[in-house]
């Protein structure tokens, strides 16, 4: 019974640094799920942290989900816009969860002025070692290939769709893009959605 209920639920953690576009990505997933008649709840960071702090969104798809928050070890999918933020959120993942992680670190001001450290290589190694189903996305290369860094959210979303953990298709997300974005941005974002498929 419990097993069956959980099958219908998808718990997604999105995380990154304020200003990276996690909110639009979660909106697109919610739109796509709602179009298919799936009930959606979410919780996210709004406020001071949006100025370069750590931010997260919890998205829960499915019926009988009482709360928007996701507990430790309960997430099916993580979409991380930044590797250190991905590590911060690891305790929320199920053992079998899929993780889509942008490899490009965002160095906080605190690390630049020497108030904290950011051992990037160690962090990437830790992710590789501890996440069973990991998709690392070379977002610097994606930005160069696509000619824009602004569609990182859709690049990651595409990789998340293909990880199958989302329960949504490229077509579903494509429809959500059409509904939410202005015509002139659609071409770029459609390419972004398929970017990791061509690798």
């Amino acid at each position: 019974m419990q097993e069956e209920k959980n099958k219908q639920q998808v718990n997604i953690v999105l995380c990154g640094v304020g200003g990276q576009g996690t909110i639009l990505a979660s909106r697109l997933i919610a739109d796509a799920a709602m179009q298919k008649g799936i009930h959606v709840r979410s919780a996210e960071t709004i406020g001071m942290a949006q100025r370069g702090g750590s931010v997260f969104t919890n998205l829960r798809l499915g019926e009988d989900v009482p709360t928007p928050r996701i507990g430790l070890g309960k997430a099916d999918l993580m979409i991380a816009f930044e590797p250190a933020e991905a590590v911060r959120m690891l305790p929320y993942l199920k053992e079998e969860a899929q993780a889509v992680v942008s490899m490009e670190p965002i160095m906080p001001v605190s690390a630049m002025v020497g108030a904290s450290s950011y051992p990037v290589d160690e962090i990437l190694a830790y992710l590789k070692e501890h996440v069973k189903h990991l998709t690392l996305v070379d977002s610097a290369r994606a930005a160069a290939d696509l000619g824009s860094a602004k569609c990182l959210n859709v690049v990651l979303l595409g990789a998340a769709v293909r990880s199958k953990a989302l329960g949504l298709t490229e077509e579903d997300i494509g429809k959500a893009l059409e509904a939410r974005l202005p015509e002139k941005l659609l071409g770029l974002n459609r390419k972004a959605l398929m970017y990791t498929a061509s690798e």
Partner: protein
């Protein structure tokens, strides 16, 4: 009706619109801001909406509208309620005619606030009934009930939510605009015996309020949103409690509220859970319902955020009705006394209370992870506040100084490497604090930094006070022509209103000159040399001096300019990185680099670079 994916605050706003609200006033503050913004966005055309200069103005204006029979909504964050406390305390004695809902967003954590105060406690103090929703859907539905309740009982009511409801999202059914209720205000009917507060009226009305609230306690025991959710599955059979690992024959249950109710539900299987008392209106407390809930229990765990309001109320009910029930929660150390709860902290508390390890949250930790960078929020790349702080810092180098900060984006000037915020208390406090410190330490050059919106909200009285009382200080108005931290709301200095009207701007310079300040100058902080010179010249003048650093918020005034480092000329001294702390400045090998995706071309770093290595690129 149609379905939409809505933020809690949007749902609250639509609930008010659907209830036929006529008048909406508020002051921005996380996590409440989106309520008023949504009313303005979805205004069917018949609703008056304003960003007031502060919460006190909003409360008073809404009270006036409600006196005249309008349905009024006033919105603020929890600390805003402190500003509006004076009118509110008296308003409860006067009462209202049109329904009046005071929407206050509490911020457990706190995530974006100075305090973790609980508006439920304020409700008890002010004797104002309070509604506390658990979900986005409930927030929408409850708003209509709150308006009807307010009108029926002639009292303003609190509609209190917390961050996770305000900023939670849910796909919910909402009415289309033609389905909104229509309410025609009757107009103000003069009656001095009702609307003019005098001790005689207060004596009479205080007695009536106490009587009414006692009556309401009974009425609210019947309110369907205050309910007892029966036990299910294995938790049903009380006699089986012991063998099910529920303790030695103890009959245990949960009392909870708000978002915590959803955390409790999440901890249990849908088919099997203990009995739960869910309190949606904690004041006046539904005593009869609580007594019925308690009568067959041995122990109750109160799962609450912020103050132990339900816990104290249940202890009171036990004492009053002579019930032998052990009430546990914050006062017994079973729930953390401060901070935000989570699904995990609640699950852990439930596991301990029921002595049932299966309820425990997953224990995976990060003990072996490499150190993670800390990421405190920072001023945006290109933020003009960075230039203002840097200019003052440079001008006053080597002198004994005090930099009093205030509430807004510019509180972030506290961080390394600027470190230009020595104090921050509450909206508008900086100016008075600088005055107080200067009186005690007259050899300190005292500065007060205040944003434009905060200046209008509660800064002006401080300037008048300092000027009248002969203080020596420099007021720095950081004017970016918006209320930036909360998402760019207009204010009296912007020349626009939330309803889209273009209005006469209130000039900060004219206000300061009218007060009589001997030095009032306006400078572009991104012109570093001029900015530093102005700060120095101000120090040669006695009394309260003011400098207005005016440059638009960089997130509104999109810039296509970029700065670039010439690696040939960069000596790798890192002065730009170490003195400005701009998130667009990074170390590229041994030289400075500029992250083009973030840079706005403010060119402050170019003015700081001793090698002249940074140019527009």
């Amino acid at each position: 009706m149609h379905k939409e994916f809505l933020m809690g605050n949007e749902a609250i706003a639509i609930g008010a619109l659907a209830a036929g609200v006529n008048y909406v006033a508020g002051y921005p503050g996380t996590p409440s801001t989106e309520v008023l913004e949504t009313v303005a966005k979805r205004n069917p055309g018949s609703v008056y909406v304003e960003w007031s200069v502060n919460e006190k103005a909003a409360m008073e204006a809404a009270a006036g509208a409600a006196y005249a029979g309008a349905r009024a909504l006033v919105t603020m964050k929890q600390v805003g309620l402190n500003v509006a406390a004076d009118p509110l305390m008296s308003l409860e004695y006067i009462g209202i005619k049109g329904g009046m809902v005071i929407m206050v967003a509490d911020d457990p954590g706190p995530i974006s606030s100075q305090t973790e105060q609980d508006t439920r406690t304020f409700a008890m103090f002010s004797k104002v009934p309070l509604f506390d929703p658990s979900t986005v859907e409930e927030a929408f539905s409850m708003m209509k009930e709150a308006f009807a309740f307010s009108e029926e009982w002639g009292t303003p009511v609190f509609f209190r939510s917390t961050t996770r409801v305000d900023h939670g999202y849910e796909s919910i059914e909402i009415p289309d605009e033609p389905e909104y209720e229509k309410h025609e205000p009757e107009g103000f009917v003069k009656d001095a015996s009702r609307f003019v507060i005098f001790p005689k009226l207060s004596v009479k009305n205080h007695a009536l309020i106490e009587k009414r609230n006692a009556q309401l306690s009974k009425t609210l025991s019947e309110y369907p949103r205050n309910f007892i959710l029966p036990a299910k599955g294995r938790w049903q059979a009380k006699g089986k409690a012991a063998q099910d690992g529920c303790g030695s024959g103890n009959r245990r249950a949960i009392a909870t509220h708000g978002i915590n109710y959803t955390y409790v539900l999440d901890a249990f299987d849908e088919a099997s859970r203990p009995e739960i008392l869910r309190v949606a209106v904690p004041f006046p407390f539904p005593e009869d319902l609580a007594a019925a809930f308690l009568q067959d229990k041995d122990e109750v765990l109160c799962v609450e955020e912020l103050d132990p309001v339900i816990e104290r109320a249940l202890i009171h009910v036990c004492g009053k009705y002579g019930l032998q029930v052990r009430i546990r929660g914050k006062l017994t150390g079973d729930i953390a006394p401060s901070g935000e709860n989570s699904t995990d902290s609640v699950a852990a508390a439930l596991a301990a209370f029921f002595e049932d390890a299966s309820l425990k949250p997953s224990a995976c930790g990060l003990s072996d992870a490499p150190p993670l960078p800390v990421r405190p929020p920072v001023l945006c790349a290109g933020c003009p506040h960075r230039a203002s702080f840097y200019a003052v810092k440079q001008a006053m180098k080597g002198q004994k100084t005090l930099f009093a900060g205030d509430i807004g984006c510019y509180t972030l000037g506290n961080a390394q490497p600027l470190e230009m915020c020595d104090t921050c208390l509450c909206m508008g406090a900086g100016i008075n604090i600088a005055q107080g410190i200067w009186r005690v330490e007259p050899d300190t050059k005292c500065f007060a930094f205040v944003g434009d919106s905060t200046f209008f909200a509660s800064g002006i009285t401080g300037v008048v006070n300092a000027f009248y009382n002969q203080a020596q200080l420099t007021l720095i108005v950081l004017d970016n022509s918006t209320t930036a931290m909360t998402g760019h709301q207009p204010h009296p200095g912007t020349g626009r209103t939330v309803m889209g009207q273009v209005v006469e701007k209130v000039s900060i310079e004219a206000v300061l000159l009218a007060i009589g300040l001997p030095f009032v100058e306006t400078v572009d902080p991104l012109d570093l040399e001029h900015a530093i010179d102005t700060v120095r010249r101000a120090q040669e003048v006695d009394g309260v001096k003011a400098i207005i650093f005016r440059s638009p918020c960089i997130t509104i005034e999109k810039s296509r300019r970029k700065a670039a480092v010439d690696p040939e000329q960069c000596t790798g001294c890192r002065k730009c990185i170490r003195s400005l702390g701009c998130p667009a400045l990074v170390l590229d090998g041994k030289k400075a680099g500029i992250r083009a995706s973030m840079c706005t071309g403010c060119m402050l770093c170019a003015q700081v670079c001793p090698a002249g290595a940074i140019r527009e690129g």
